[in-house]
């Protein structure tokens, strides 16, 4: 598996407090869990190509981060925003990719409609609630169908029903890799792979059940894990 070009492969990685000698992330959905300050955001930013490691290598499907199409939702959704109007913010990736103007508008409107956010399309971003800002950031991140979708605690802004709707948007955008960090262990449990980071190091990674079993003496498990199992 180590040479499989379909994987995200990390070797001898060092960046700030993060220290990962070796890690392989398969395609699909992956959740990073762990305490605040454990390096989750740093790893996500490395995968998005937003920062470079002090040492080591990362390849995504055989390419370096940044050379593939990346959708990124910041843990501070406001910091990603470039435009003041929701429609412009959602459409921005298509405009930057030089899509024809009529196609940009049509796709942005369709994107908002599919997500049930048509009522927000002409609103100013600063008038939105925190959850609505996160949803707009998600639409902007997915409208150009990214190869890699990076979500930094995106779900912490959303209620359960809205999160379910957002998951449909994520799946429909079809990224080969979805890597998110989350403090919602139910969300982590629905991922194909879970990676637990503590103090910049990987304590355990694998299928959700395997990881939660290893973390059973911590609170980084779904509610009721210790009671029902």
């Amino acid at each position: 598996m180590a040479g499989d070009p379909r994987m995200i492969q990390i070797g001898d990685l060092s960046c700030r407090t993060l220290d990962i000698p070796d890690l392989i992330i398969p395609p699909g959905s992956t959740a990073l869990i762990g305490p605040n300050g454990s390096g989750k955001t740093t790893l996500l930013r490395l995968l998005a190509g937003l920062i470079s490691p002090d040492r080591g290598t990362i390849t995504i499907g055989g390419s370096v981060p940044g050379s593939c199409r990346v959708g990124f939702v910041n843990e501070y959704p406001d910091r990603n925003a470039l435009f003041s109007r929701v429609a412009d913010e959602i459409a921005a990736p298509l405009r930057f990719a030089r899509f024809p103007c009529t196609e940009v508008s049509r796709k942005a409107e369709a994107c908002a409609e599919d997500a049930g956010l048509s009522h927000l399309i002409n609103r100013r971003l600063h008038t939105l609630s925190g959850g609505e800002k996160a949803l707009v950031a998600l639409l902007a991140a997915t409208i150009h169908r990214p190869d890699v979708l990076i979500l930094d605690e995106f779900d912490s802004h959303l209620d359960e029903q809205t999160l379910d709707a957002a998951e449909q948007v994520i799946r429909a955008s079809g990224p080969g890799y979805i890597v998110r960090c989350t403090q919602n262990m139910d969300v982590a449990g629905r991922s194909g792979t879970v990676i637990a980071l503590f103090d910049g190091r990987i304590r355990v990674s694998g299928r959700p059940g395997e990881v939660f079993s290893r973390l059973a003496d911590t609170c980084y498990v779904p509610f009721g894990w210790g009671v029902l199992r």
């Binding site: 762990g34 305490p35 605040n36 300050g37 955001t41 843990e75 501070y76 406001d78 009522h119 609103r123 008038t127 939105l128 609630s129 925190g130 959850g131 609505e132 949803l135 605690e153 912490s156 802004h157 959303l158 209620d159 359960e160 029903q161 809205t162 403090q183 919602n184 262990m185 139910d186 911590t218 609170c219 980084y220 509610f223 009721g224 009671v227 029902l228």
Partner: protein, 232 residues
């Protein structure tokens, strides 16, 4: 001590907010879907937003504050020590409570959002408030931080505490339950009697209630106890 929202109305385009409510001392949990009006309620209750119509009466409330959803909005200091001082609290105490001892000269923006949230809540906790409005206090905190805040919230105020959140897993001991539905504030009642009427209840609570194992309250311990009853 009372916080009264008397026929409070606010309109933004097609969206309308409506609240008629009296908040007595205790912990009030306010939930609702994204965009339902929780943050608007928080702003109005704390006096940060003026409603389009209606009155907000604060009887016997001499101190109050609003904790915003995004902790970075609170930052005014170039260092954590200066930031703590801007709250009128001891930097050493605030840093220690947040698990950030020795980092007083750090720029607040080099912290992760969870760390910054923890630090902000730590600063708030070193003062006493008659009215404390917490907008998504658990957002970005890890599970240890959420548990710590759930335990700390009851000690933050002997007055009125509004906790506006969609947190699903870790909640504080709650006296009164409210729900925002499409811009309208609904009083569901006291916990646990209100739990069957809670439309945006966490899945665990919904499951427990549907199985007839109503938890005594919403803390981890209460839910685990009810879960054990259901299992047995």
């Amino acid at each position: 001590m009372k916080l009264i929202l008397e026929q409070v109305r606010e309109t933004r385009g097609d969206w309308q907010f409506s609240a008629d409510a009296t908040f007595l001392p205790g912990i009030h949990l306010v939930t609702g879907r994204v965009g339902s009006g929780k943050s608007t309620l928080a702003g109005i209750a704390a006096g940060m937003l003026s409603p389009g119509s209606g009155r907000v009466l604060r009887e016997g409330i001499s101190s109050g504050t609003l904790s915003l959803q995004y902790p970075e909005y609170h930052v005014t200091g170039a260092t954590l020590a200066k930031e703590a001082a801007s709250y009128g609290v001891s930097p050493e105490g605030a840093l220690e409570n947040a698990g950030l001892s020795g980092r007083g000269e750090d720029d607040p923006f080099i912290l992760s959002r969870g760390e910054l949230k923890r630090f902000h809540l730590s600063c708030l906790s070193l003062r006493r408030w008659d009215l404390l409005v917490l907008d998504e206090p658990f957002s970005a905190l890890d599970c240890r931080g959420k548990k710590r805040e759930c335990e700390r919230i009851p000690a933050l105020s002997s007055g009125i505490v509004l906790v506006c959140t969609h947190e699903q897993q870790h909640l504080p001991r709650t006296d009164f339950l409210w729900e925002m539905r499409d811009g309208n504030l609904h009083a569901l009642g006291k916990v646990p009697d209100a739990l069957p009427f809670w439309q945006t209840a966490p899945k665990t609570v919904r499951t427990l209630v549907s199985q007839g194992c109503v938890p005594a309250n919403l803390t981890d311990r209460d839910l685990e106890e009810a879960l054990c009853r259901m299992r047995d």
